[in-house]
């Protein structure tokens, strides 16, 4: 599972990095005479409603997906880790405030809050990144807070404190590392979540705006042609499903590797 997931993600990353450079096709070039043309030897995935090559756009869309995934996951992980560690380590009113904010954010199911935020801020890639981060950090904070609550009672942590180590040093060198395997798993699965999140918002017309190729925007464009040109829907969706499956395989595999009890269960 780990290897399969790793291979899928690595291939997708290579395609995102090198694809647009290697392909002779341009995802923005329009050939209106051939609009909605079915897949052929010349255009493997066919052409879209404006006569643009779908393969070139899928490859360019992969860049957006990775950009969103990496940005949202890294910012969310750092923010969530810091806030979760602070809440768990210091407790008291800091923990109360951070925990109540987490409770409120968790009261909005799934992407709902992200939809609401982008709805008021306006559709753009920057706002998508912001909205997905607002809902993304919560899971890291909860995870790290729980781990820190346990870890701060460990003897080696108390020994470090007794030896005069500062708070930041104790947190950074002794407490947070106990949570890092779980953070890595969460981040891998979070990549899948962020990619689906961006695609969902773009599908609803709230994300990346045309003509920038995003898989969600491409699927949204394909809705009007589902009867006469289903390839507009099939290929971008397949790309999302494969990449998300890759990250899910990777996350599950990592979890099994880190905690073998999960595998037995």
């Amino acid at each position: 599972m780990l290897k399969t997931g790793g291979c899928i993600v690595a291939l997708a990353l290579l395609a995102a990095l090198l694809g647009p450079a290697l392909s002779s096709l341009d995802g923005t070039e329009q050939t209106l005479a051939l609009r909605l043309a079915a897949p052929s030897a010349e255009h493997l995935f066919g052409l879209d409603e404006l006569g643009r090559d779908i393969l070139a756009r899928v490859l360019a869309g992969a860049r957006i997906s990775f950009l969103v995934g990496l940005t949202v996951v890294s910012v969310s992980a750092v923010l969530g880790t810091v806030l979760g560690a602070v809440a768990g380590y210091f407790g008291g009113w800091l923990d109360d405030v951070i925990s109540r904010v987490i409770d409120v954010l968790l009261a909005f199911p799934g992407l709902l809050l992200a939809i609401a935020l982008v709805a008021v801020l306006g559709p753009s890639l920057a706002n998508v990144l912001f909205a997905l981060t607002v809902i993304g950090w919560v899971s890291y904070a909860r995870l790290v807070r729980g781990q820190v609550l346990r870890a701060r009672e460990f003897e080696y942590v108390q020994a470090a404190r007794a030896l005069g180590a500062g708070t930041v040093r104790v947190l950074w060198q002794h407490v947070v590392p106990t949570a890092s395997p779980a953070i890595v798993v969460q981040a891998t699965l979070g990549m899948a979540g962020a990619i689906i999140g961006e695609a969902s918002l773009s599908f609803l017309g709230l994300g990346v705006q045309p003509p920038t190729p995003s898989w969600g925007t491409m699927l949204n464009g394909g809705r009007a042609h589902i009867l006469d040109a289903p390839h507009l829907t099939i290929f971008p969706g397949l790309a999302i499903a494969l990449l998300v499956l890759g990250f899910n395989f990777l996350g599950d595999g990592l979890r099994d590797r880190i905690d073998p009890r999960q595998r037995r269960a």
């Binding site: 009261a107 008021v120 609803l204 494969l242 998300v244």
Partner: protein, 306 residues
């Protein structure tokens, strides 16, 4: 049980207050003038002033907040700018469609997931188990805004079995329910597998088998019944996915529910309706989770004394 109920309610009230506050602040996050954003660039100053007064945005912030909270408690969420209809009435009209879709999706998820999870657990480690686990991961990975159109292409366009959009007959419900239910089935199947597998290892199941109880009866009557407790809890979380998934599924299949109302309201910059839909969906989610929490307390009395 009463003390347990009171404790859970006490924990829920601050969350609801926080949710309402966040929803209230949404309109103030709009870059620039929210009234200008709602009416568009070409709106006259008179129209802008009139709407600002109508929405109460010309009053001090604390008065706006008090009015919003009072309205939220008394069921007055303002008037839709798009339809001029009270937001609560617009939502109430759409609610039955969303509830119908959500229940059908949960039914689809249960019908697929429970047998799949049990079979995977009973055949743990075999090809059947790996197949079921991979199928479940595939289900989680397929976004519903892709699965929906694919089902429509296959079952509506190619085979002509079901209508491609709208609401009316039971046939209209099939594709949206599968689209919304399949990813839930994947999550539920994985959980059912893990939960049944854990119970199968318990001594009481081994003892039942030693007493001569058949394998099927040991699984269904003993292990499965007890493994339901964590599964029921996850239904609460899954309900959140149903609510968010409904926004997309209703858009794909032109299903006239609250999710579609939300998307239409966003497109029209109808912020009172957007706020109303968001608040209602979040409050429903909190209420369902509270109900599941209470049900969990009934199913497993240990929870009440934690």
């Amino acid at each position: 049980m009463l003390r347990f109920l009171a404790r859970r309610l006490t924990l829920t009230l601050p969350v609801l207050l926080g949710v309402a506050t966040l929803v209230f602040s949404l309109v103030h996050l709009v870059p620039g003038d929210p009234v200008q954003a709602m009416l568009g660039e070409s709106a006259s100053p008179q129209d802008i002033a009139a709407l600002r007064g109508k929405l109460g945005l010309d009053r001090p912030l604390y008065q706006q907040y008090a009015a919003f909270m009072t309205g939220a408690v008394t069921g007055d969420l303002g008037t839709s700018l798009r339809t001029n209809q009270p937001v609560v009435r617009a939502i109430a009209e759409r609610m039955p469609a969303t509830v119908e879709l959500a229940l059908a999706a949960m039914l689809v998820a249960t019908l697929i997931a429970i047998p799949l999870g049990i079979v995977a657990a009973v055949k743990a480690g075999t090809a059947v188990d790996h197949g079921a686990t991979t199928l479940a991961l595939l289900g989680v990975s397929m976004p519903n805004f892709w699965m929906g159109p694919l089902l429509a292409i296959l079952l509506s366009v190619e085979l002509g079995w079901f209508p491609v959009s709208g609401r009316g007959t039971a046939a209209h419900l099939v594709l949206p329910a599968i689209t919304l239910g399949a990813p839930l089935a994947a999550v539920l199947a994985r959980l059912t597998r893990a939960s049944v597998l854990e119970e199968l290892r318990e001594l009481y199941v081994v003892a039942a088998r030693a007493r001569g109880v058949s394998r099927a009866r040991a699984v269904l009557a003993h292990a499965f019944r007890n493994s339901l407790i964590p599964v029921v809890t996850v239904f609460g979380l899954l309900f959140g996915s149903v609510l968010t998934g409904a926004v997309i599924t209703e858009t794909i299949f032109a299903w006239p529910g609250v999710g579609r109302l939300l998307v239409q309201s966003i497109a029209a910059r109808d912020f009172p309706a957007v706020q109303g839909c968001i608040l209602l969906i979040a409050v429903t989610y909190v209420a369902v989770n509270l109900a599941i929490d209470l049900l969990y307390g009934v199913l497993d009395p240990r929870v009440r004394y934690e």
